[in-house]
């Protein structure tokens, strides 16, 4: 299906027979389904790494309003720069994703599911609509799923419209409700007060596909992969200066050096892990591991080769955040613009060390005082580039300007 061959390693998802996870779930009680997911130690694949079992437990316990329903939302807004693994999952493993949503619905008692698909992926719509229709025909969606009385659940697709911040779960819900995609204050959390004020589980595409795999093969199988605190396999979206960009699967806990060797990027100068909101890691730290206990990521790996100008990289990231900030709170709205201005001063060779320290203090304020994850993490790339590549940044002359 996928017109573009992006898969560079075999995926474990290839070995999961669609339908087996849901069938296994239907032999269990709701509490046991959640227990299985919790026992696998699966943590959210969307970036924040919240334990999926815990999230489901909260939603299962939450009360639904009279005449309302609980919701399962699949977050397919995939907007983090350098991330495209969900594209591959939606094109080649859509059944597993929808199966994961169905299992979640069973677990928390939801009757409605929504796939929030980013506007840029509208070309996938016919394919995904087709898969949903096929699942309805096969009794995998709709009333009394697989003949289970009282288990009614269907999935609707809703499109995003070109706003990165709508990947943030409360902004996503605002968007679904027909509002500007401005993040809400949390608490209350979506598991309690989500779509239309009802308990809502929001999970990443990969998290949900992983759930289908876990129910199919068992929590112990999943937990045996990866590290103690970071269970399982993970998809990585690899781009930038390497010979073989694409989607890779590795167990969590892999070192950056080992990953670079597999993708043909061993000679790298630095790697951006976690996209624009992640951090830039210099070659001297390639021994570090990619795992929740060391460097956590939703899977975006961008490789920078030897000749790359790190200030130019920092500028591109900051332009992204200036563009994508929702503007609702001052630390983020004004802070990102200020940092971009600082980067432009550095570019012109007009930034004193004192001013640079002030910018770093501003970064700290933004990390602490911003309302949502966008503003809290937008300074990360700049801070890590200043920390590791300061010699490249100061005293630049016109000849270096891009």
């Amino acid at each position: 299906m996928n017109p573009i061959n992006s898969k560079k390693t075999p995926l474990t998802f290839d070995t999961i027979e669609p339908g087996t996870g849901l069938a296994a779930a239907l032999t269990k009680s709701r509490a046991d389904i959640i227990g299985e997911v919790a026992a696998s130690n699966l943590r959210g694949r969307g970036g924040a790494g919240f334990p999926t079992g815990t999230k489901w437990n909260l939603a299962a316990a939450a009360r639904v309003g009279e005449g309302h329903s609980k919701y399962v939302v699949c977050n397919a807004d995939e907007g983090e720069p350098g991330t495209f693994k969900d594209r591959v999952l939606l094109l080649d493993y859509a059944d597993l994703v929808f199966e994961g949503m169905t299992i979640a619905a069973r677990a928390i008692g939801a009757t409605k599911g929504i796939l929030y698909l980013r506007g840029e992926y509208v070309y996938m719509r016919p394919h995904l609509d087709g898969v949903l229709e096929r699942r309805r025909q096969a009794g995998l969606l709709g009333a009394a799923i697989l003949g289970t009385a009282g288990f009614d659940f269907d999935i609707e697709i809703r499109m995003g419209a070109g706003a990165y911040v709508c990947g943030e779960e409360t902004a996503l819900i605002e968007s679904l409700e027909g509002h500007r995609g401005e993040p809400r204050n949390r608490p209350p959390f979506p598991v309690d007060t989500g779509f239309l004020g009802q308990p809502t589980v929001v999970n990443n595409v990969e998290t949900l596909a992983s759930v289908a795999a876990i129910l199919s093969k068992g929590a112990a199988w999943f937990k045996a992969i990866g590290t103690e605190r970071s269970a399982g396999f993970k998809l990585f979206s690899v781009s930038g200066d390497c010979t073989d960009p694409g989607v890779y699967e590795f167990p969590l806990g892999i070192t950056i050096a080992a990953l670079l060797a597999k993708v043909g990027g061993s000679n790298a100068k630095a790697v951006q892990i976690g996209g624009a909101s992640g951090q830039c890691v210099p070659a001297s730290q390639f021994g570090r591991t990619i795992a929740f206990e060391d460097i956590a990521t939703g899977g975006s790996i961008i490789v920078f080769g030897q000749g790359r100008d790190m200030l130019h990289v920092a500028k591109n990231f900051m332009e992204f955040f200036v563009e994508e900030s929702c503007g609702q709170c001052t630390p983020c709205r004004a802070g990102n613009a200020r940092l971009l201005d600082g980067i432009e001063r550095l570019e012109r060779g007009e930034c004193s060390t004192t001013y640079l320290s002030e910018l770093l203090a501003l970064c700290e304020t933004m990390q602490l005082a911003s309302k949502c994850g966008l503003g809290q993490s937008s300074p990360n790339a700049f801070v890590s580039i200043v920390t590791h590549f300061q010699d490249e940044l100061l005293g630049r002359t016109a000849a270096q300007a891009h």
Binding site: G82, G119, M159, G160, Y164, G181, Q272, F320
Partner: protein, 170 residues
């Protein structure tokens, strides 16, 4: 706008509200479908949508102005969006950008005088392993080289000549 065009737009909106529901949560799908058909959401359209959904037009405007893929100002029949984010940047998107400007004779943010093409920047399109990437309406192009730009534009022009209806600037 002609009265008949206004009527047509009104009918379209009522039919969309019929499909998506007369609720606030239907606002985005209604606007997205309108945008797809008319390339932008005009003042008049926003007023009608607001009336149909029972909300203030300023609310509709607030939503249209928030999302990069919804437009208030008229746009070209073909909206060309080049990814400006890091991986495409590393893959020399700047040269593709220059050539797009050359072929279309407009700068980023502008629409050709014949109303056929708009040129815009986009944030990461999720095609980072095969940049530079661009979207023309719903279609994605990857590993675009400056030499290919002419052909991409020509393909659009052919489609336009073949069966495109004259665009309605509602």
């Amino acid at each position: 706008m002609l009265v008949s065009q206004q009527q047509k737009l009104q009918d379209d909106i009522r039919s969309l509200v019929g499909t998506h529901g007369r609720t606030r949560a239907a606002l985005m799908p209604v606007l997205q479908d309108l945008q797809r058909k008319y390339s932008s959401v005009s003042d008049f359209a926003m007023q009608v949508v607001a009336d149909e959904l029972g909300i203030h037009p300023a609310e509709v405007y607030g939503v249209v102005s928030f999302y990069a893929f919804l437009h208030h100002e008229p746009r070209g029949r073909f909206q060309v969006r080049l990814c400006q984010t890091i991986s495409c940047d590393l893959a020399s998107k700047a040269r593709v950008a220059r050539q797009l400007e050359n072929e279309l004779g407009i700068a980023f943010g502008q629409t050709t005088p014949d109303g056929r093409f708009s040129l815009e920047w986009a944030s990461c399109l999720g095609m980072c392993d095969q940049g530079p990437a661009l979207l023309v309406n719903d279609r994605v192009y990857t590993r675009v080289s400056p030499e290919q730009v002419h052909q991409i534009i020509e393909d659009c022009r052919r489609v336009f000549g073949a069966h495109a209806v004259q665009q309605v600037h509602a």
